[in-house]
Amino acid sequence: MRSLMKVAVAVAVLAPVQANAETGNIPFNGTIADTCAITVLSAGTIVPNAGYTVLSSTFAGGAAGTANIMATGTGWDVSADNPAAFSAAPASAAGTTFATTYDLGGATTATGVTGATTTALNNGQTNVSVDLTATHPSGSFEAGTYTATVVLRCE
């Protein structure tokens, strides 16, 4: 009987140890708000034409303002408002008229869109390039610093 018990103990000791493997699920959750974010990358530069009657970012030496818009869904529109007036300029520039256009690239594409026209944004990052043209009401622009602000809107 004792021999039998010794054999049983030896078998028990030599038997492979089997761990019980259990699995568990760890949930991960995340929420992205349905919204859009504008990041202005660079301001624009307007320069005069040969006759100094028009200032534009499209002329040689000028530069468009750039921004990108990150839309996390659909249903958002972009537009760009004309300035009502220069925020800084010589008095002789009163009555200047403005025209704004924008180009879109990336998730949404469009070219030469009039600023007031809204364009539906696709989900993702859209690169925006904004051009501004200012036309003197009667004569030519005199020496001075001219500053105008375009409102780039996502709504």
Binding site: A33, T35, A43, I46, A67, S87, L152, C154
Partner: protein, 131 residues
């Protein structure tokens, strides 16, 4: 309508609104709010997506983009640190109407001193309905 009731209604409306997400320009951007007072309240979360701090202004406009002067925005102008957002409370009077649609816009000018500045404006559309 006494002030306590109005504040309570405002707080109730705030509690019913969804909470914010970080690093977005503004959230939420759509909401319908009911109120049993003469005004309705909305809480929005302007966010700064830049790597530097910016000056932010929150304004309320009607459907024709005329500024709603009697809306109360708190705070209306503030500086927001990089990649940060903060709550802003907006109280909009019904102005005698049963419903009122407004735009609440977060505006910023990150590059002053250039000849052509771009003001980023992110607008949400909100509908207030009086019970």
């Amino acid at each position: 309508m006494n002030k306590t009731t109005s504040l309570f209604a405002g707080a109730l409306c705030l509690a019913l609104l969804p909470s914010a997400a970080i690093a977005q320009a503004m959230s939420p951007m759509r909401a319908e709010v009911t109120s049993f007072t003469d005004s309705f309240a909305v809480r929005v979360y302007p966010a700064n997506p830049y790597q530097h701090r910016i000056r932010i202004e929150v304004k309320v406009y009607d459907q024709k983009f005329r500024e709603v002067k009697d809306a109360v925005v708190s705070p209306s102008v503030f500086t927001l640190g990089a990649r940060f957002s903060r709550p802003v409370t907006v109280m909009v009077p019904f102005d005698g109407e049963q419903k009122r649609k407004v735009r609440i816009c977060t505006e910023s000018i990150p590059f002053p001193g250039q000849t052509t500045r771009i003001k980023a404006q992110v607008c949400g559309k909100f509908l207030g309905e009086r019970l």
